[in-house]
């Protein structure tokens, strides 16, 4: 009862980065429990995936070949059966959109506690201490629980495991009850297409909730015109229908790495930061000096965007 089982994430033939990050998180935890790190890869081209996942620190990789793409019923059943077989102390699952679609079901079915979206985790072998954020990252909390648990880990918090491992790769014969699969995945659609590709821009003028209303969007567009830059945005602007989906920067939108990213009235929620932290230079214009965006900004103006933006536009007209 001291092993760690980590489940990997893939989509449309590609392992997602979090699958390599969860190896690092799992290895750290297994070192603390004194157990082995087991990985599982479920559905799709599992043999190919297993070879790629055999990185330093992995003791065993279990392949479950049922299914092609993610189906939460298959993942729930397979993970539950792996738990019964391996009796690990901790089950790690990515806190991805798909992770959140089966981790709570696994935990509930096994009568285990669940801690989600953790940014840090450690154990003394009995008590697990998970670090989480609250209030959009304004505070961090530590959360303790005893005994076995399901833990979902936030992406990009742990470095990706490197090197070549020496894991045993074994096929796990899961007994999938097809009658119990109440949902069917029919396909995928790319929704961020269109005439503009914000990931190609050298300079992005990016607008967030601070713009307050749709009627104010033109001041951002005027600035982008004056700078010969491209307009992008954070999620709420797209949710409100003020800009199209192809302008959205972040986890559910595009990942961008421009030379200069000007964040205007954007607080910097983790989902947004995931999409723009690789920018060369980040400038934040925000009245709140404690906004999370300041943690990654290189330059900041703590002032009203309705004063600064027109002044900047004028500077270049």
């Amino acid at each position: 009862m001291s092993d760690v089982l980590a489940i990997t994430d893939h989509r449309r033939g590609e392992l997602r980065d979090v699958s390599y990050e969860i190896i690092t998180a799992g290895r750290e935890l297994a070192d603390e429990t004194g157990g082995d790190l087991h990985l599982a890869v479920i559905s799709g081209t599992v043999d190919d995936f297993a070879e790629k996942l055999d990185r330093e620190g992995v003791d065993a990789i279990h392949t479950v070949s049922d299914g092609e793409e993610f189906n939460h019923g298959v993942y729930t059943q397979a993970t539950t059966q792996l738990y019964d077989e391996l009796a690990p102390q901790y089950v790690l699952i990515p806190n991805s959109v798909n992770g959140l679609d089966y981790a709570p079901a696994v935990a509930n079915g096994l009568d285990l506690p669940i801690v989600t979206d953790v940014v840090g985790v450690e154990t003394d072998g009995e008590t697990l201490t998970a670090t989480r954020e609250m209030y959009g990252g304004k505070v961090e909390t530590t959360n303790d629980l005893e005994g076995p648990a399901v833990v979902t880990i936030r992406s990009a918090e742990w470095p990706q495991a490197e090197g070549t491992g020496d894991a045993s790769i074994e096929s796990f014969d899961a007994d999938i009850d097809e009658d119990d699969l109440g949902s069917t995945v029919n396909g995928f659609e790319e929704v961020a297409g269109g005439d503009v590709d914000i990931s190609e821009a050298d300079v992005l003028v990016s607008v967030g909730r601070g713009i307050e209303e749709e009627d104010n969007i033109p001041i951002i567009e005027e600035l982008a015109d004056a700078l010969d830059a491209t307009v992008s945005s954070s999620r709420p602007i797209v949710d409100n229908g003020w800009l199209p989906k192809n302008r959205q920067v972040g986890q559910s939108g595009k990942v961008v790495t421009p030379d200069v990213y000007i964040a205007i009235g954007i607080s910097g929620a983790v989902q947004h930061v995931a999409g723009m932290k690789g920018s060369d230079t980040i400038v934040a214009i925000n009245t709140d000096p404690n906004a999370p965006i300041m943690d990654i900004a290189d330059y900041a103006i703590h002032d009203d965007l309705f004063d600064v933006v027109p002044a900047l536009t004028e500077e270049f007209q």
Binding site: L100, P104, A105, A107, N143, E189, E190, V238, M294, D307
Partner: protein, 263 residues
């Protein structure tokens, strides 16, 4: 068809605040209807207006203070509300996923809805797991992070889109009864009309204790204990430009010229 929507009054925090023990000091906290729940309510009300749903019921776990927030859902068109509260819940600083599930499952079992809509997560503690946990417990189907729902639910199937990372949506059929966790942007939540607000005052808001629901008090303790809260250390090495808007704008202009990206 009956739809049940889980709603929560969430705590909001001012820019400057202080922490007392494992909580933010009261004077820095405000309250609001959870943003994701607002979209879930809107989706349910639209299903009712389209003639798909006959009744929309909301359920919340919260003290009497949150009734004003909960009535917003009634003002927007929900038919009635259930509020669960109990002395055993006073002063509990963390209701973990298992605790929330134990309470809400009894409400859902009693109401027997065809569809349960939750928000993807709550804006304050962001666990994002209660909906799927409930579905597993009650033998409902489910889908997490739904950003489109076809309003044709006649054949016992909900055709949804799940919003995956990176601008990709998954097209999925979900058998009813089901729990769907609703993502922001799925619709455009309405503002309550004055007439709606007046009507909401007369709509039923039923208060139930743990005893009424047959939930054991020990369930609220949960398995997870909040042990510390602190402000994360800032990793910021930001250069702050001071001065008038003209001055700071000219600093930024200079940076863009330095970087060779100014027009």
């Amino acid at each position: 068809m009956k739809i049940l929507v889980t709603v929560k009054e969430v705590a909001t925090v001012e820019d400057e605040f202080e922490i007392e023990g494992t909580a933010i000091a009261d004077q820095y906290l405000g309250e609001d209807l959870n943003e994701w729940d607002d979209y879930a309510i809107e989706e349910a009300v639209q299903l009712q207006e389209n003639g798909v749903a006959d009744e929309v019921v909301t359920v919340t776990i919260g003290p009497e203070d949150c009734e004003q927030t909960i009535r917003q859902a009634l003002a927007k068109g929900a038919d009635r509300a259930i509020r669960v509260w109990d002395d055993a819940l006073e002063g509990v600083d963390l209701l973990d996923v298992g605790a929330k599930r134990s309470i809400l499952q009894e409400v859902i079992a009693a109401e027997d809805p065809d569809l349960v809509l939750t928000g993807v997560q709550s804006g304050d503690d962001s666990w994002g797991a209660t909906g799927v946990s409930l579905a597993e417990e009650l033998d409902y189907e489910w889908a997490a992070v739904v950003n489109h729902l076809e309003h044709d639910l006649d054949d016992g199937i909900a055709a949804v889109r799940r919003e995956l990372e990176g601008g990709v949506e998954e097209l999925t059929d979900v058998e009813l009864p089901a729990v769907l966790s609703i993502q922001t942007g799925i619709n455009e939540p309405r503002y309550a009309s004055l007439r709606g607000i007046r009507q909401a005052q007369r709509k039923p808001l039923d208060v139930q204790t743990l005893g009424d629901l047959g939930v054991d008090e020990s369930a609220v303790e949960g398995a997870v204990t909040l042990t510390d809260m602190y402000e994360p250390e800032s990793e910021s090495d930001v250069t702050v430009w001071e001065g008038s808007a003209d001055e700071t704008a000219s600093e930024l202009g200079e940076l863009l010229r330095d970087k060779g990206v100014a027009p």
